[in-house]
Amino acid sequence: MATHQASPDLPPPPTQRGLLRWLRENLFSTWYNSLLTVAIGYWLITTFVPLINWAFIQAVFTGSGADACNPDGACWVFVEQRLGFFIYGFYPAEMRWRPNVVFALFALSVVPQFLPLPAQVRKWLAIFGITGLPVAAYVLISGGYFGLESVPTSRWGGLMLTLILAYVGILAALPIGILLALGRRSEMPVIRGICVVFIEFWRAVPLITILFMASVMLPLFLPDGVTFDKLLRALVGITLFQSAYMAEVVRGGLQAIPRGQYEAAEALGLGYWRRMRLIILPQALKIVIPGIANTVISLFKDTTLVLIIGLFDLLGAVKSTLSDPAWNNVMAEGYLFVAFCFWVFCFGMSRYSHRLEKQLETGHGN
């Protein structure tokens, strides 16, 4: 009797497996997709091959001056030579160890947040970052205490100034924003009205006009003899502007908390502030992490506007170097360098917010 012998399965045809299948499904599924793939592929190759050649292969990375540069490639010597100015601005060279210590402390409180350390350690480092770091940074960078020589804010600049503006702006805008949001949701009509007018006013005008106002008009508003530092004026303007945006983000979170949570907290007999601090705000802030991250990123980008009122942030420092006749024709390199710096920070922050969102996910959402 003949027995039925199953022959082994044949592999799928070549167009149904591996790379070919992927190509067919993802790049050449229909005639117009094939056309698009070819057109975009052509565009990418013709654009990026010369760009990479210019930026890396033909580029000059080290040298003593503009003479070392190659006309066919990027001149990164420019960045290398001026890096000190881009990071510290006019900060005296022999005192740069002070901002460096601050950078190190900043890294110490931020980097561990990404590492698999015990939650307790991360928490205390974060608390240091919010409370101790600004004080330490002020004492070290500004000087005038503990025998450190005082450095006026007019000499601060570069990436250091960008980070100071962003960090202080965020630290100050978040609590003010939360208070404003609570005020806008309050049952007291007068408090609500004040908060609504405040928020809507700051949100409706461009940041530039606020910075102009801070630099031109703030002196008019203050009593005789009280003068404000230019940097501090910019910081006040930026903080008030961003706190209005922060308030709207937090308000969204507060509105998303079900009524039952408010009522349950009240039923427990908690007072208003404890109700908000222990029950409502932790949930509301978790919901709006993406919104807060967006506000933080936009604040970070907006710090560049201070160059319009004459402060030398990173962009301002690079731009002022570009007008130096010793460095003609490094315009694109200069702007690409600044773009890269900002991109790294902003992209990093948006990735961190995604991570935080996942980390805090409790599964109670729907």
């Binding site: 408090i191 508003f221 005789d224 962009l315 991109w343």
Partner: protein, 395 residues
């Protein structure tokens, strides 16, 4: 029998524990605080202005400005008043914001849809565009386009020549300018007639479809009519339009319409920056429409194009419109960055030059902020009306 010494109902709480009393006290304190801040600001300002000899009032608006502006949509020269400079700046702000909103919406929708494309390469290029442009400061992008790209264009003598009628140089883009001659009104009339026919046709087609279910091809017919009738008018009147073609004369181009490079750079930066945000809004809107909707529509036998137009997009719009409104507002406010490259917008002309010349800081800052407040409120109002029209109607 012992009586319970406790009262049946708790007495009124102590005044400092009574929420109603507290609420009134807090509000009175808040009013007093705001009033005090307002009063001291006002008092300080008045004192400071007196001690610096600054006069108040809006009389300066009628004084002669005496400075030139590189671009104005309305007739302007140096002998006109500061009030006129305000209008010039306002018109320029509105021009760049309006064009920016239009272009950013188009680019944003295209990129947002490309991000969902089944073509891997298209989706990744869209993603790369979004991640790059969103994470770089707008001011830097404006500088990049203005100084590094448009500034690197050749001078007028070596201008990039597009078919001998349009030229691109570091002085801007020069395009031919149409000159309408007597008979040109027939073309305008043709356009109006075509538009009227299209509207009537659309209304009739919709009614007929509701009554009989038959579909009338309105779109192809209107696509023929709208350019067709003006063209017919042009031919009938023997070509009543001539073109003022720019030509190189001396050191710059003469004739034609010139778009200054400041406008080009600002528009380019505003469009590309805002479009990267709009793209993400569009994507999230389309993703939010559940796939069951698409499947149900396809199961009804609707063609894919109509599924998108009748089922997906209307539902996505509900998610898209509110954040899109904020992007329009942001774009309008961001147009004030014009001051950094010298495009003569409101902030540059009025809050910059006019303020420096007159010193009327309080009035000028107040007017400028009031203008932006008005624009912002107007855009929100319009978009809220539109939002209400597309919002989900639950009955």
């Amino acid at each position: 029998m012992t009586t319970d010494p406790r009262p049946l109902r708790p007495g009124r709480p102590k005044p400092w524990n009574d929420p109603r009393v507290r609420s009134v006290v807090f509000q009175i304190l808040a009013i007093a605080g705001v009033a005090w801040i307002g009063y001291s600001l006002f008092q300080n300002t008045v004192n400071n202005m007196e001690s610096r000899g600054i006069t108040t009032g809006f009389g300066f608006l009628n004084e002669t400005a005496g400075f030139g502006i590189i671009m104005s949509l309305i007739p302007y020269d140096e002998t006109m008043s500061y009030g006129r400079t305000f209008l010039v700046g306002l018109a320029n702000t509105l021009l760049v914001s309006g064009l920016g909103i239009l272009l950013a919406t188009i680019v944003g929708f295209i990129v947002g849809i490309a991000r969902l494309s089944s073509n891997w390469l298209v989706a990744k290029v869209a993603l790369g565009y979004i991640e790059i442009f969103r994470n770089i400061p707008l001011l830097l992008q404006i500088f990049f386009w203005y100084f590094a790209v448009l500034g690197a264009l050749p001078g007028p003598r070596q201008a990039v020549n597009v078919g001998d009628i349009a030229f691109m140089s570091n002085r801007g883009i020069v395009l031919p300018k149409p000159i309408f001659e007597p008979g040109a009104w027939v073309m305008g009339a043709g356009l109006l007639v075509a538009l009227a026919i299209t509207v009537v046709l659309a209304v009739w087609a919709r009614r007929r479809q509701a009554a009989t279910g038959r579909i009338f091809p309105v779109l192809p017919i209107s696509l023929v009519l709208i350019p067709g009738l003006p063209l017919l008018g042009y031919l009938l009147m023997g070509g009543p339009v001539s073109w003022d073609i720019p030509a190189l004369g001396g050191f710059n181009f003469r004739g034609g319409i010139t778009a200054i490079p400041e406008l080009g750079a600002l528009l380019l930066a505003l469009t590309l920056y805002t479009a990267s945000f709009i793209a993400e809004i569009v994507r999230s809107g389309i993703v939010s429409v559940s796939s069951g909707q698409t499947e149900a529509a396809l199961a009804l036998g609707l063609p894919a194009r109509r599924v998108l137009r009748l089922v997906v997009i209307p539902q996505a719009l509900r998610v898209i419109i509110p954040p899109l409104t904020s992007q329009y507002l942001n774009l309008t406010k961001n147009s004030s960055l014009a001051v950094a490259i010298g495009y003569p917008d409101l902030v540059n002309v009025f809050m910059g030059t006019t303020l420096n010349q007159t010193g009327q800081a309080v009035e000028i800052v107040a007017i400028t902020m009031a203008v932006y407040l008005t624009i912002s409120l107007a855009i929100s109002l319009l978009m809220n009306l539109y939002n209400r029209a597309v919002a989900l109607k639950e009955r």
